[in-house]
Symmetry: C2
Subunit: 650 residues, 2 copies
Amino acid sequence: MLGRIVIEDLRPSTPTRAYPAKGVAGEPIPVSATILKEGHDILAAAVRWRPAGTSKWSTAVMTLAGNDKWAGEIIPSKLGLIEFVVDSWTDHYASWRHHALAKAADGQAIEVELEELAVMLDAHSVNAGAKDSPAMKAAAVQLRDATSEASRRLEAGLAPNLEKLLTKNPYRTDLTTSDVALIWADRSIAARGAWYEMFPRSEGGLRPAVDRLAAIAKMGFDIVYLPPVHPIGETARKGKNNTLDAKPDDPGSPWAIGSKLGGHTALDPALGSLDDFEFFVKSAESLGMEVALDYALQCSPDHPWVKEHPEWFHQRPDGSIKYAENPPKKYQDIYPINFWPDQGREQLWNACKDILDFWIGKGVKIFRVDNPHTKPFAFWEWLIPAVQAEDPGVLFLAEAFTRPRVMAKLAEIGFTQSYTYFTWRTTAWELAEYLTEVALGPKADYMRTNFWPNTPDILSGPLRNGGPGAFKHRLVLAATMSPNYGMYSGYELMENIPASGKNEEYLNSEKYEIKTREWNSPDSLERYIERVNSIRRAHPAFKEIGKIHFHHSNNEHIIAYSKTSPGRDPELQTPPKFHDVMLMVVNLDEQPQETTLWLDMEAIGMPADQPYEAHDELTGAVYLWEGASAYIRLDPDVEPAHVFHLRRIG
Amino acid sequence: MLGRIVIEDLRPSTPTRAYPAKGVAGEPIPVSATILKEGHDILAAAVRWRPAGTSKWSTAVMTLAGNDKWAGEIIPSKLGLIEFVVDSWTDHYASWRHHALAKAADGQAIEVELEELAVMLDAHSVNAGAKDSPAMKAAAVQLRDATSEASRRLEAGLAPNLEKLLTKNPYRTDLTTSDVALIWADRSIAARGAWYEMFPRSEGGLRPAVDRLAAIAKMGFDIVYLPPVHPIGETARKGKNNTLDAKPDDPGSPWAIGSKLGGHTALDPALGSLDDFEFFVKSAESLGMEVALDYALQCSPDHPWVKEHPEWFHQRPDGSIKYAENPPKKYQDIYPINFWPDQGREQLWNACKDILDFWIGKGVKIFRVDNPHTKPFAFWEWLIPAVQAEDPGVLFLAEAFTRPRVMAKLAEIGFTQSYTYFTWRTTAWELAEYLTEVALGPKADYMRTNFWPNTPDILSGPLRNGGPGAFKHRLVLAATMSPNYGMYSGYELMENIPASGKNEEYLNSEKYEIKTREWNSPDSLERYIERVNSIRRAHPAFKEIGKIHFHHSNNEHIIAYSKTSPGRDPELQTPPKFHDVMLMVVNLDEQPQETTLWLDMEAIGMPADQPYEAHDELTGAVYLWEGASAYIRLDPDVEPAHVFHLRRIG
């Protein structure tokens, strides 16, 4: 049965509410709820939260933020699962006050109202301690003092001190508590970080790759992500450019995991030893970066599991094991795992978890999961909480480029972050529509985007044969739109040659060969990337995706959007309304373009009637603007984007 | 833990899924679900349903209707609560077929595929009866016959007969069933009907009012709704025009319920006897109409409950009972009920139910509930199912004009129908926006609209001092937009004089006085109303609100919208796509207006390349149209609206 008050729609939430929404430990999470009660009484509400399984609640006041909608903020104190509930009750005193004032203003008698407040004080004082009780009783006596004018007694009833006493010693006759809602509190790196993907074998192995880490750290990346580091199968090994006839010295695809040298818990000897691996991880750490590892649950025909556990694979009537295929395409170097074997499902799933446990033991806490949408949802629903129960700091990035509902479901059931369609959203209209969906829709409660302009599999859109303007503008978009973004190495060298027009592969893809690069090229974008990442770090406006707002540009080739962070400092709150206001203006074309922007002044919190400054953080240029209109010209050969910090003057 | 397949988002549904969505017994209800499985197997799905508490399921096939969205249809066989679930499983045969055909087309060997199908047949035949088993076994032998060409054996594997056998004798290794979803199946009058509100006292009582019923039936109404028929309080009785000094012969407001003559289960003697009441109900019934009664849970100070159960009211510290007030306004003739008394809550709630039981005993099955939003949600959540458990044919219309969330919540927890904001939506933009919300949003699953252009409390918008054009166009809008609509008597006589500019009351409101009307006025709209209701009844397009579609009109004073009913008859399905296509074009202004429409041809299913006919069902005129564009001129003094039946030619 419903309580006296209806409390529902707790946000953040997941669609089925069976899984937690997402937040960051130690950081404020805005929460909201719909609260309904019959009639016209004035309500009050609070949010309570605690780590799941503990007993002590923290509490924060909620305020009415619209039609029946209440808002507040919680701050999880530690990593892991947080429970929160919303309490609501009738604010009898506020209701009384509203009522009594209206009657008094109309000249109506308020004797009974004064007595009602006295009765309320009696009730509240029952549970008040020795400190407050006498003051409350005295106030009741004063309200009942028939020798005093009603208007004077009303004044006594409205005294701020009285309100404080009543709030401090509540008497909540219809206190109602919502169902419990869940939030998973992650490390902050789960919510914001810049990823860099590299193949250590192209550097000569893990030891030599350590030399590259300093440059990556200097560019401002937070996470170095390595494709699978395990022994690579020899059976049906792929040659250069995905050919079927590998030469003896072709290294094969790292995703064809497993050989006689070992499976998912072994290291490809070509990369070095496990000691080298740990040294690599520690070196990254000393540069302020974390290493993320690929978690690709598939096997080459040479993987030890194939012999040890043929029942974990799809067996065909002729006794063979089914390789991956999407007819007529065949992937004979890959055996998919059968996650629902007739025998030994539990053993298989535990073995999958053992892989993670092994690498966690080697210092890895972030996993980029290959094709999670080809493995059962029930598997992830079991695996991720099982790992995080032992270490809530372990994070999972879902590499699922599939149908929207499937991607959202993976995020819902536990993935920390998700690859997105950003890679294929290239026009202003597409970008605005997509960001509106992922940043401003209900998915934002649990699906954290990670924007990748390129990956080893995907050279797409303007990057194909694209010039510096294309590489710069896709970088600026990814880095300023999503708190998490990543690039695959070679981006800084503007590698741009497609394998063919039939797919989005790179020519001479690093997946199938060792790639030697001239990092010190004079054309390298390393310094540009460093600048962008440093702006990202400096500005709190980039911490959350949901603060994005699109502004009108009269040229469809130029997109304009702002990001803001609220002014938590009460002294900064009004004015200005925002603490940090960033405005990005990006030319998506390869030609110079110009536009007149029409800024939504409400969304950027700048004064409509006096000038303000636009500091281009990329170039250092400062413009003096006034009002909503601004002229912009962007030549991609010079600079395809502005990243403005808007500042009030004085 | 999740099943092997994820099945969720069952629709129709209510937001919390704790309450049933709404449908009509004996009529198809479209259902849908999101179904997700990892990888690329082809799925199948079915919906099963049964009356709650029974054991036999009905089943219907579902089909893929978009990205991971499946659709089907259920038909509740009886009134009351229906449970439904969605089953899904991998369609191994369809997956096999897709796979084998792609390989064969590429010239790849399919020997193992043929054996796989033979194995599948073995598995399916295990549970097949003596009738099908031999045929399945024979097919398996044929597939394995190495002396036959693979291509011939593939043909055998694709035989329609084989597919039928496999479907009939399923082998569903990953069969997954959704959670149970709920639908309340109502009588059809719950979903569509035309209401007429009248004060029988103005006709001289219930007996004389019977004479008026034939005219109401002739106008085409389905429900005659009576304001409270109980004894009216004398204390603080309101006089004409809501004055505080009633004259001795002022009859008082019927909503000030209860006097020494009785309370909610008594009949005002001025209206007649209980026999007269039953005669009135039976007379309406013989004319094909039902009587709806007001259910207003409030008391005059003279109500028997005030003496018998003072604890059921709000008692003040001075010993008085609190009358209704919204300071500075006072309603001293009304005592609100305290639904959470310190003592006797259960007794009070049961007494409230007894009122309904009493009138149900007198033949009333429809109740219009006065101000339900001022009574606890928990009360309605208890009351409505308690009544409907005894008689699932009892219906409740919520008269809540309050905040949107509160209105939706009342519908969610059990109200059959809801008054809406239609009364105040008067411009084309407002109407389109509001209909989009209530007809096309998720609320439509459980909140059935009832559109009222006027009520005894509300003379609003264009009706205030409005002419025949205003009364006609508001009628056409209400009647053609919402399957449920109603009018308060006097509408046909175009009563249009407001009490003042301060509120929306009528001058000389019938709430406070007896009103004698000249029904046979030559200006009466009775015949026009009859025409509109007869068109409503003749056209299935008006049966559901959700089939509305707005079309472009280049004059903002003219609104155009279509309603369609799907062609269930397979012969009619293609072409035409729709069985019944209605297009309404309404001039909302008091001046003549003209426009050029731009019709969405997809939405009306008319041919883009050949002429079609527009039959104006109001006037009988027929127009020959071609393409999307149509010129319209509407003079409100002649006819403010077209109600076109669009027909293909030949």
